[in-house]
Each structure stands twice: as structure tokens, then as C-alpha cells.
């Protein structure tokens, strides 16, 4: 949440921004598990048994995929224990089948056929078949589920079980990225929860006990269809404060924690900890294009020129991230397609543009949450804007207020860190099409909208890339959003933890706890 938030997670991917990032597609490498990217040596053979202690960065609410919190990026290590997603995010933005065997479309990406693995059962022994998938999607689409994925489900015109292992979908409009909707809430197939009991899934672990607000303990599911989890039990502890969560890892109270805090990532090597991170979040600045003076593209472009992205990266992320060049992330399969022409730092040009627009004395309020790295970013930007003659007033608010201001578009300029750019289609469609509820900047460009729509409807990957590239170029040129840095997010673990997967090429960090073991 983080960056502020995790807001709606589920949608086509959600946002989650968060200060933590969050949320966009599901996960993982539930099966692979390679070496960690951190400092420790080879893991050696896997060790079965013992209890793994995981520190969560936010409280879990209902143990039900209908709740977007559970399928936000930092929480998927819990969701992946209890539920199997139909599709998962692999390296470089690829979406691949997991509980599904295949997910194929007709020529115009309107009709889709999902083939399920056969013989999979829920942990209560009931079959997880095509009808179970249909029931699950329909349950989450109902208003009383309050799932933010209801909007995704609403893009489906009809769905029906066609035999025990086949589900046919007909969409209201072509969507070549449709399978990516099944990497989060819609894809974590489960039975409806009854009362306070968790929703029943088919994951490698089942819930043993819940201490509300404190922890949830899960035990290995003996009837799991796939590779069994290594640890006998996993205890997930709710540790919302990032500093004490890190200290819990160092003291041995936790074996593995989620982090996006640059200083902790930097310290981790010296403290003998292991890291598994990927470019999971992107820092940006939202400009409200619906209100003066940011309705003038010259003013927005001036701010683009005023920002030295390399400096922001060095100051805030301590050289561990990289600059962001636009809405297509560096790990995206469509990266080559466009948006390489992001303006270089040039305060003189910024001043000239502002003078041209009649805003030589520009001043504005910058809404930002109160995390240390957010404040640091705000202060750095304030100095850069001052160099261009722009006066920026920093207004720190709590995360919930920041999100409210963002959704209600009651801001001038807003600090926004998101995991949405982990999936190019989701990011472009959500953030930059005129009628999207996530279009926080109010940006509207017929050309960009056409290019985004063409990309979504195009099954051919190369052609899609070309369309997305055109859209990205338009977004960078029109500058409704300033792109700053791509930031590492992911896990820190003690040296006793084995099986940490390499997630360095993943924009969505989702790890199955079944691949991890504890050497004790």
C-alpha cells in the first residue's frame, strides 16, 4: 500500500500502489524456485519440515480472493499458499498457465477457451472443475462480494462450463490480454467462505489457525496435486511497521519479510540477509490535467525537463533502481516498441517553456504520503523545480487520504508509486484511456486511446507492441504523468531460508511459499 496503496487490486490489475506496491497480477513461480539473487551461496538440497515464519506488511482481512488485499503483491505469498491461480506472471511480463493448462482465443480475441488441469481437488476433497471456475467467477462478480475484480468480470458477456475441464468465455469486446485478468482475484479459484471460515482453495497449504489481527498459521495440504510444500507449517505474522519488521528478521522472529524500503535493501547484504527483488514498482508524479495550470501541455512538459531522474534514483533508491522512461516498463515484452525519447534534464528549457506558457512564477501543492522515501523524493523534486523557478509546497497526508484525493481527482500534483506498470496492457488501459476510473490525471487523447484500444484487440504480439509504442510515445509527449524511477521490491530472508526464486526479471513479485524451506 502503499505507495501508497494498494488500492484496488484486482482489476486488470490493479493498482496498488503502494507504498508498497502492489498488485497487479498474480504470481509466481510457484513451481520453479531457482537461486536467490542475494549474497548467500548455493542453497543445497531442499530440506523438508520445520516452520517458516513470514512477516506480512499489512493486516489480512478475509482469507478470500474476493478481498483485493489478499491478492496485492506483498500478500500473494499468503494467497499462493491457500489458492492456486489459473495464470501466473513469469519473467519479462509473460503471463503463463498455472492451474490452467491452456488459455486460448479465437482470431479476434473475443472468444476464449480455458483448459484446466484435470484431477485437481479443493482441500475439502471436492473437485476443482470447470463448473467450480464458473461458480467462482460469478461469485466474485456479484455486488455483495465487493471484489474490485467485478469490473474485470463485467467485460465477460457469457461464460459456461463445456465439459469437466473446459470453460468458454465470450467477451463484450476483444481483449488479447484477457488471461492476465486471471492472475489475481478472478484466477484464485475458491469456494465461497461460510461465516468467518476462509474460502476453500486448492493450494499447497490449508489454514490451521487464525489469530485475528496477529497471525495465520497454515499446514501442508497432504492432498495437494502439485509439488508438496517443504515447510510443515508457515506462520504469517502481521508486522505493518517496516522498521520493526526488518528488525524482526534480524532477530530471528521472522525468516522472510516483504520490503520496498531502499535503506533496508542496502543494509541487507551487510547484515548477512538474502534478497529476492524485481522491478516491482514505478515512482511517478501525477499532474491533474483537468485543472489549470496543468491543463496546458507546455507547463507539464516544463516539469518533465525540470526533473533529473538519475538524481532522484540515486538520492531515494541509493542506486538500486533505474530511471523510468515511460509507461512501458524495462522488463515489458513491448519495451522495444517505443517511448525512448523521454526528455533529458534541462532546467533552462523548463524555464523557457514556462515563460512561453505565461507561468514564470508557477507554484503548486504536492500531495505525498508520509513514508520516509516519499518525503525524500518530494524534497528532491522540490529542489529541482526550484532550479526551474517553480515553487512546490509539500503536503504530506496519510495513505487513505492520498488515495481518496487521487480517486476523486482533488489534487494539483500527486506522488504516485504503483505496480501497475508491471503489465503494459493494464497500465495503458487503466491510466491513460479517457473513460477509465483509474485515469487519475484526467488525460484524454483520441490518438493514444485509439492506439491503446488497437493494442488490446490485437492478438499478434509484434503488432500489439507497435500500437502500445505509439500510445507510450503520446503519453510521454503529452506528459500527464512524470515518470521517475523503477524500484526494487520483494523479499528479504535470513541465511537459513532456501529456495528463494530469482525474481529479478519480474515486474510482479509473487512467490509461492511451497518452494521455500528453512534450514533448521
Amino acid at each position: 500500500m502503499k505507495r501508497h496503496t494498494h488500492l484496488l487490486a484486482a482489476t486488470a490489475c490493479a493498482l496498488t500502489v503502494a507504498l508498497t506496491a502492489g498488485a497487479c497480477t498474480a504470481s509466481d513461480n510457484a513451481v520453479s524456485g531457482g537461486g536467490a539473487t542475494g549474497s548467500a551461496g548455493p542453497d543445497g538440497p531442499a530440506i523438508d519440515g520445520g516452520t517458516l515464519k513470514v512477516g506480512l506488511d499489512r493486516p489480512f482481512t478475509k482469507l478470500d480472493p474476493a478481498d483485493g488485499t489478499l491478492t496485492s503483491m506483498p500478500m500473494m505469498i499468503l494467497a499462493n499458499a491457500l489458492y492456486d491461480p489459473l495464470m501466473v506472471n513469469g519473467d519479462n511480463g509473460v503471463v503463463k498457465p498455472y492451474l490452467a493448462q491452456a488459455f486460448t482465443s479465437d482470431a479476434d480475441a473475443t472468444g476464449w477457451t480455458l483448459k484446466l488441469r484435470e484431477g485437481v481437488k479443493f482441500s475439502d476433497g471436492k473437485p476443482l472443475d470447470a463448473q467450480a471456475v464458473v461458480d467462482h467467477v460469478k461469485r466474485l462478480a456479484k455486488p455483495e462480494s465487493t471484489c474490485t475484480c467485478a469490473a474485470d468480470a463485467a467485460t465477460i458477456a457469457t461464460l459456461e462450463a463445456n465439459g469437466p475441464a473446459t470453460v468458454d468465455f465470450t467477451l463484450k469486446a476483444p481483449n488479447a490480454a484477457f488471461p492476465s485478468l486471471f492472475t489475481r482475484s478472478l484466477g484464485y479459484v475458491s469456494q465461497a467462505p461460510t461465516g468467518a471460515a476462509p474460502a476453500v482453495g486448492s493450494g499447497p497449504y490449508t489454514v490451521e489457525s487464525v489469530q485475528p489481527g496477529v497471525s495465520v498459521t497454515v499446514a501442508r495440504n497432504p492432498a495437494y496435486w502439485g509439488a508438496k510444500g517443504h515447510a510443515d507449517k508457515i506462520v504469517y505474522k502481521v508486522l505493518p511497521d517496516s522498521d520493526s519488521r526488518y528488525q524482526s528478521l534480524r532477530s530471528g522472529d521472522a525468516d522472510l519479510i516483504w520490503t520496498e524500503t531502499p535503506a533496508q535493501l542496502k543494509q541487507a547484504g551487510g547484515a548477512g540477509l538474502r534478497t529476492a527483488t524485481g522491478p516491482g514498482s514505478t515512482s511517478t508524479v501525477l499532474l491533474n490535467t483537468k485543472a489549470a495550470p496543468f491543463d496546458d501541455p507546455r507547463v507539464r512538459r516544463a516539469l518533465q525537463y525540470a526533473v533529473d531522474r538519475e538524481a532522484v534514483e540515486k538520492v531515494v533508491y541509493l542506486g538500486q533502481g533505474q530511471v523510468s522512461n515511460g509507461p512501458i516498463g524495462s522488463a515489458s515484452p513491448y519495451r522495444a516498441a517505443g517511448a525512448s525519447g523521454y526528455p533529458a534534464h534541462d532546467p533552462a528549457k523548463a524555464r523557457a517553456l514556462l515563460a512561453d506558457a505565461g507561468h514564470s512564477d508557477l507554484s503548486f501543492e504536492y500531495l505525498v504520503d508520509n513514508r520516509p522515501e516519499s518525503q525524500q523524493r518530494a524534497t528532491t523534486l522540490q529542489q529541482m523545480f526550484a532550479e526551474a523557478g517553480v515553487k512546490m509546497t509539500i503536503k504530506p497526508v496519510d495513505t487513505a487520504s492520498l488515495n481518496t484525493a487521487m480517486f476523486q481527482r482533488k489534487f494539483q500534483v500527486l506522488d504516485f508509486v504503483t505496480s501497475m506498470f508491471g503489465d503494459t496492457d493494464t497500465a495503458l488501459n487503466s491510466l491513460f484511456t479517457a473513460d477509465s476510473p483509474y485515469n487519475f490525471t484526467g488525460y484524454g487523447s483520441p490518438g493514444a486511446s485509439r492506439a491503446i484500444g488497437a493494442g488490446r484487440a490485437e492478438p499478434d504480439a509484434a503488432k500489439r507492441g507497435t500500437s502500445y509504442g505509439k500510445a507510450a510515445d503520446a503519453v510521454v509527449r503529452d506528459a500527464p504523468m512524470l515518470f521517475l524511477t523503477e524500484n526494487p521490491a520483494g523479499f528479504l530472508a535470513t541465511a537459513e531460508v532456501g529456495g528463494l526464486p530469482d525474481v529479478s526479471r519480474r515486474t510482479v513479485i509473487s512467490v509461492s511459499p511451497a518452494t521455500l524451506w528453512v534450514k533448521k
Binding site: 484496488l8 482481512t61 468467518a196 489481527g213 505474522k237 522472529d253 496519510d398 480517486f407 476510473p437
Partner: protein, 319 residues
């Protein structure tokens, strides 16, 4: 006589008025929020049906007075509504959390008293002496240290370096009393050490006043030893302000416990409040606000009445 009766009735009447006002403010909150609380909580993709269902649950489909009346009626029957995040009855959530916060509060008061009483006695015994100067300087420095810094420092020393106590987490007393105490130590120290500084300053000042009284001089002239004099004659009458401080602490402990409970992962009312605010879980926010206000009002009232009992001059208006 009339004024005496009114004087005795005034505190409870004030308490009831304060409670009523807090309750109205808490229940009016979603009505006053700019924009739609339903959209803020559910996000802009919420369908009209989702918004309608949410607003009905919050009482936004009726006016403030009837919503308040309905809430009050249900509350009197023990129904504070349901959490929007978890679907659990709010009374269940509170019943789980209140004992934890109470335990933390009591432990913190014990820590504060165990430090404040001896230090204040030593300070007041020789005002301006080395102990007094160190205690005074220490108290000012201590008061300036924010709770989360102190908490992290304690975690670093006790959990990371010495590994003698857990850094975070909680074990219910009923499950494992020893584990419960181990998890209690650091959060109780964090809250209690800060309060100890306030307690020390207050008690020292009061002790100095008391030691100026003629009956102390009389006792001293009769040859009563210093230790006996301080403990038997000076400490008890000087402790009255501590009662007030502990009463006020019931209120401030909630504010302080939001931070400390979040830092240490303690499942009390403070962490419930923090989580509910982040999730825009209005029924829980409202219940926590009203219940906390009731606790503060009750504690203040108890202190007020206790004072009258301990010092009849107050009841008679003679100060």
C-alpha cells in the same frame, strides 16, 4: 445545600454530555466526508449496487439523527454493527482487542510507577543534589524521545543484539502466560518509560510542596527519620496528582498505543484503529471512537469522584 448537590451531580452530567457529543461526531463522520465514503472505500470501479449496499450498511441512506438513533438503540443491545473488511461483529473485534490494550496499559503504568516513585523520592529528598539534577535532565531528554524511536532502540538492543526478547508479535495470556509476558515487556517498557518521565516530574514537584508543610516540619522536629518521613508522611498526600495522570493516561494510552501496537505488532485497540482507518472501515472506526471516549470519560469521572473522596475540600469547593 443545593449547590452541593449540583456540585456532586455535575461531573456525571458533564461526562454524559461529552460522551453524547463524541458519539454524534463519530456517527456523523461518514455523512460529513467530502465525496462518497463508499467510493473511497470500494474504489471507483464499484458498481451502483455495491455503492448502494455499502451506503445502507453505513446508514448513509437515512438522515444523521435517525442513523444515530438506530445505532444507539442497537448499541444498547450490544450490537455495534459489522466490520466492512472482515464481516465480523464489531463487538467481537473489540472484545478480542480491549483486554490486550488493557494489559499493556496496566503494565506500562507499573513500569512508570516503579521508576517514578523512587526517582522522585530521591530527587525531592535533596533538591538540587546530584540525583535531582541527573533525574531532571534525564526526564527532559527522555520526554523529547519519540515513542517509536525508543521502541526501535529497545528492539535493537533486546531482540537483535542480546536476543533475549522477541522483537514483535503477541501471545495471548490464556495460551502461554510466559510467552505473553515475554511479548509484553518491550511494548510496556516503551510506553512506560515515556510516562515515567512525566510521573517523576509531577511527583517530585508535589513532594517538594508537601515537604514545605508545617506538619512535616513538626514530624521532622520530633526526630522522625528521613526515610520514614518521606515514605510515611510525604509520599501518600503527594501521590494524588498521579491518580489524575493515570486517569488521563487511559485516554492518552490509546493514542500512544496506536503507534506502539503497530510497531510491535500487538493486536490491541490501537492497531485495530490504525487498520480500520486505512481500510476506511467506518463501523469499526465509529465503535473504537465511542468506546475510547467512554473509557476516557469513565476514567476522568472516576478520578474526579475519587478525588472528592480522598480530599473532601474539593467537593466543598475549597481548594
Amino acid at each position: 445545600m443545593t449547590s452541593r448537590i449540583l456540585g456532586a451531580a455535575a461531573p456525571p452530567a458533564r461526562a454524559a454530555a461529552v460522551l453524547l457529543l463524541v458519539m454524534l461526531a463519530a456517527l456523523t463522520l461518514p455523512h460529513l466526508m467530502p465525496g462518497s465514503p463508499a467510493l473511497a472505500a470500494l474504489g471507483p470501479t464499484a458498481t451502483p449496487e455495491q455503492v448502494t449496499a455499502y451506503e445502507a450498511q453505513l446508514g448513509l441512506d437515512e438522515n444523521v439523527l435517525s442513523a444515530t438513533w438506530r445505532w444507539l438503540g442497537a448499541a444498547l443491545h450490544g450490537d455495534l454493527g459489522q466490520s466492512l473488511s472482515t464481516g465480523t461483529p464489531v463487538t467481537t473485534e473489540l472484545a478480542d482487542r480491549i483486554p490486550v490494550t488493557l494489559e499493556l496499559f496496566v503494565a506500562a503504568q507499573l513500569v512508570a510507577l516503579c521508576i517514578a516513585v523512587p526517582v522522585a523520592l530521591l530527587s525531592a529528598w535533596r533538591p538540587g543534589g546530584p540525583v535531582d539534577r541527573i533525574a531532571t535532565a534525564g526526564a527532559f531528554v527522555w520526554l523529547a524521545v519519540p515513542g517509536f524511536v525508543l521502541g526501535l532502540l529497545l528492539i535493537w538492543i533486546a531482540a537483535v543484539q542480546l536476543r533475549v526478547l522477541p522483537a514483535t508479535g503477541w501471545t495471548p495470556f490464556t495460551e502461554d502466560p510466559a510467552g505473553n509476558l515475554r511479548h509484553l515487556v518491550l511494548p510496556a517498557l516503551t510506553l512506560g518509560l515515556t510516562e515515567a518521565a512525566v510521573f517523576t516530574r509531577t511527583l517530585r514537584g508535589q513532594l517538594l510542596d508537601t515537604l514545605d508543610q508545617t506538619y512535616i516540619s513538626a514530624a521532622r522536629s520530633r526526630g522522625m527519620g528521613t526515610a520514614r518521613l518521606m515514605l510515611r508522611r510525604a509520599l501518600r498526600p503527594s501521590s494524588l496528582p498521579l491518580v489524575t495522570l493515570i486517569g488521563i493516561g487511559v485516554g492518552t494510552s490509546l493514542g500512544g498505543s496506536v503507534l506502539v501496537e503497530t510497531l510491535f505488532g500487538v493486536p490491541g485497540v490501537g492497531s485495530l484503529a490504525a487498520g480500520s482507518i486505512n481500510a476506511r472501515d467506518f463501523p469499526v472506526i465509529q465503535a473504537v471512537t465511542v468506546v475510547s471516549a467512554a473509557a476516557v470519560v469513565a476514567a476522568t469521572l472516576a478520578v474526579d469522584l475519587l478525588y472528592r473522596k480522598l480530599d473532601p475540600r474539593i467537593a466543598h469547593g475549597h481548594r
